[in-house]
Structure formats: structure tokens, C-alpha cells
Amino acid sequence: MTGRDGRTVRIAAGQGFWGDWLEAPVRQVRGGPIDYLMMDYLAEVTMSIMQKQKSRDPSAGYARDFVPLMERILPDIVERGVRVTSNAGGVNPRGCAEAVLAVARRLGLPRKLRVGLVSGDDILGRLDELIGRGHALSDMETGRPLSDIRDRVLSANAYLGMAPIVEALRGRADVVVTGRVTDTGLTLGPIFHEFGWSPDDWDKVAAGTVAGHIIECGAQASGGNLLKGWRGVKGLADPGFPIAEASADGSFVITKHPGTGGVVSVASVTEQLVYEMGDPRSYITPDGVADFTSIQLRPAGRNRVRVSGIRGAPRTPMLKVSIAYFWGYKAVGTLVYAWPEAFDKAQAADRVLRQRLADLGLAFDQILTEFVGVDATHGRLSGPPHPDLPEVQLRVGVRAREKPPVERFTREIAPLVLTGPPSVTGFAGGRPAVEEVVAYWPALIDRREIEPHVRVEILEA
């Protein structure tokens, strides 16, 4: 294994989000030498979905597909000495860890499996106490205090950094299961553990953070969603997910397994670096602040890009908190209008629909009409449509705090087929579903309120 000789540590991305390509982690483990497999499952509102599942079933609340996935790869990772870091634990990391242990027992592995369990990020049960002691947990975007929506909060989790992962790896965990650990922490943990770096070596923290950011979205760094020269990206049926090969000097190489599709190039890495970027000089994580204007990229062979020169700054005294709260309801209805005059018909149908909604006296927070094939992706920048479009999809969305108007809206789509403009189809799916809207409330909290509560346990099976 490359990591054991003290020169490089290979961290492979297995999942870029909950719902990513299921074959990727298997291929990362079997396709060549790696030391760690890191799997990021948590997007901003994922925690609230998991919280909802847990409220219905106390054993749920984590990324369920992580378990069958581990069932497929546990024999390989035990045999090859690959270790896994993942935030698949969601709002129930213990349930997730126990499910992995149950699978390990069932598989009859040649040796015992050690699962590191990280908890303490969940502060849902502590909210009133924290608010009571003066923590406003104000929305970082709007500045409103959390007390405005306290009764509608569904989940609240502090973003943890690499420290508990390092501790679990030091405790010889094969698989580390966490709740809301940052995507970058899943990569930083292994690197800091292997090289024994000090957590206040800010340039090293920044370097590991950048490595984590590059691989955290999976194939989006290795040819997936790559705009530059997209036609030339070959083999996307079997894309190699990115691997960060970290060196002791803080530089690293981004690569992928040989024989896989996609591409690792300066362009593919740059596109991922700018993804979801704010102020590039201060990319803030719980572990430190990275300066993206210091990153140097250069080609280092086929499907290899060397990343170096990264500078960092000390971590801030605050941790970000991800809060999800119940907002209301929404629904989206669609119909397809055919040639001739498809766009005119779709526009006429939209006017009819809006008139009916108004006549019914329904109140919405928002009604949004898009014409797919005309302006749905680029709005007015799309310019005037071709005068003879073969078809146009009418897409109307509504949202409201209350359910009844949204419910009624869903019953106003199908009638347009027989009571509106002609040449309409594409309603086979039936009435659109009413969706509950769970919204995201980002806040900050003093890290001293969180860190003493973080626990790392090692479980064995």
C-alpha cells in the first residue's frame, strides 16, 4: 500500500452525494491501490430528510444505501487494508454504525471489523438551552434570530471538522461513521492521521481542505459535468472517480484509476475548484481557512494534476450550524404542447390556468411559469424562441405556507387537457404531488459549545 511507506496517502472519493453512482466505491476499492475511501452523503437539507425518516422509524435517519454498499466492499477493504470515512450516519450515526456491524457479522469476515462512531454534532435537543443562554443562532443570510421559527425546526447539526475522524483512525477504526462532519473533514482526517501533522499547521490544513473540496463531488472533478471540451471526454459510462495522492510536504496529486473513463486535467480540477465558491481568499471550514488564490495546478502526467502552494489561515472560533425547518408546501405541474404554434398554445394555457387560480381566490407565496424548450434554464437570456418549435413543455410551480391552495393547484392541471388550448399531451403521470418544503437555516455557534460534546467510540464485530 502506498500509504504505509510514509510518502503518499491515497484517498479515493466513493460518493459525491446521497444518490451518486453506486458502482463507484466498488471500483475505487478494486480498481487499484488506495488507502482510504471517503464518501460524502450530506447536502444542506439532507439532514432534515433523515430526521423525518427517523421520526417515523427510530432505527432510520441515515443514508440507508450505505449499508448494502458496505456489504459489497467490506471483504475487499478488510483484505486490502482500505479504511473508510463517511458522514453517512446523518442524524443517526449509531444506527448506521450498528447496521454496518450487523453486516460484518453476517459476512463472517476473516477478522473483526472496527467501526468508529462519531456523535455530538446533533444539537436539536439542546436548542432551547442554547437560545436560553443567549445564542441567537441567527440566519447567516437574513440575520433573523432562530426564535422566529423555533417551533418549526426539524433538525439542527453543527458541522464538525477532522478531529473526531483523526481520533477514530488513531483508535484503529476500519470504518468511521459520522453525522454532520464536513465533506472536507472526511479527507483531512486521513491525511492528518497518516502524516501526524499538527492541527494548527494552517497551510497543511488548507492543503487538505482543498484536496477534500476537489474530490468531495466525486466524478465532477474527473470528467463528469466538464464543460471544456466535453465531447472529447471519453468513457463516461465507467468514469474513474477522483483520488487525492497526498504527500508529506502538503502538496498532492489528483488522479484516477488506470483503465477508467473520464479525465483528470487542469480544466477538470479547475471547474471543480470554483464549484460553490464564495470569497476564494477565505474558504472557511471548522478546521481552518483556505486561500484558493494560492492554489497552483500543473499537469503531472496522463490523468494526473499536481496541486501545490496552498496557504491557509487559523480556524475561526465559530462553527457553522445546519438547521432545517418546516416552511410549507409546493407543487409543480407540467403539460406538453405540440406543433404548430406550440409556444403560443403553452402561453395561452398558462394564462387560462392563472385566471382559474385567481378566480378560485387561491393565495400563493409564488407562482412560477417556465416554458421548457424556450426559457426554463436561461430565462430571458434565451432570446426569442424559434418560430416553429416542434413542442414546448409548460411547467408551472406554486408554493404556499398552507396546504389547501397547493392541493387545489394540483387538481387544476389535468382539466386543461380538455378545457384549454389544443394539441396537448404528456399528462400520463397524473396529478402532481404536493411536496412539503423543508428549508435551510445556516447559523453560527461558538465552537466551545459543541466540541466538549463530541464523542468518538470504537465498536467491534
Binding site: 480544466a267 471547474e271 464549484y275 412560477l368 418544503v437
Partner: protein, 127 residues
Amino acid sequence: MAKTAARRKGAAATRRLQLRYLAHARSGDKGNTANVGLIALDAEYYPLLVREVTVARVARHFKGMVNGVDRFELPNLLALNFLLHEALDGGGTISLKTDAQGKVYSTALLRMEIPVPVALARRLART
């Protein structure tokens, strides 16, 4: 005024060209803000992007679609990062937009036209 002065110097022979011929891009979201990273296709074009793809021009390009634009420079990556505020109808799960997460604001920016020296525009038209 500036135009006339430039013409006098003989440097102003320019043609308007869409950014798609000069840059590639990727976009994402942070709440109700979309970000677009605009990356020069060649180091030669980067100074042109820095000079011409200004906050004011990008705000005008997206007028009515966003409310407030910030710009950051990353010369090391030959990139500019734009934050487009209030671009996502509330963003995340609240948004009713097809592009609720701002994934294709990237190519929407590449529609923008900037003045490019004629010689360069001709060269790019050939490729």
C-alpha cells in the same frame, strides 16, 4: 470618450464576441445565491476577462434575474468568481425553478458578449 481616445490610438478595432469562445465555466449554489466560476480557455484571454467582464456588465447581463453581483479574481486559476445574489427564487428546496441549484447559470454567463480585438475574434472564429 474612452472609445474615441482608444480609436485614435488605433487599438480599438474590436468585435463583440460571446464569452463561450474565451472561457469555460461551472456554477453552483449557496442558499439563494448562485456562483459562477468563469475560467479562461487560454492564459492569453485572462486579462481580457478581467478587464471586460466587470461587475457592472454582469449585473446588466442578468438584470431582472439576480439582485446584486460580487466578483473575485483568481489569477492562479485564470478564473473569475461571480456571486449572483437572489438568483434562485429562494434557493434550495424552496425554489420552484428548474435550475433551483444554479447549475446552468454557468452557460448563461457564457452568452454574454464582450469587445474583443478583431484579430483575436477572427482567430477564434476559425477554430
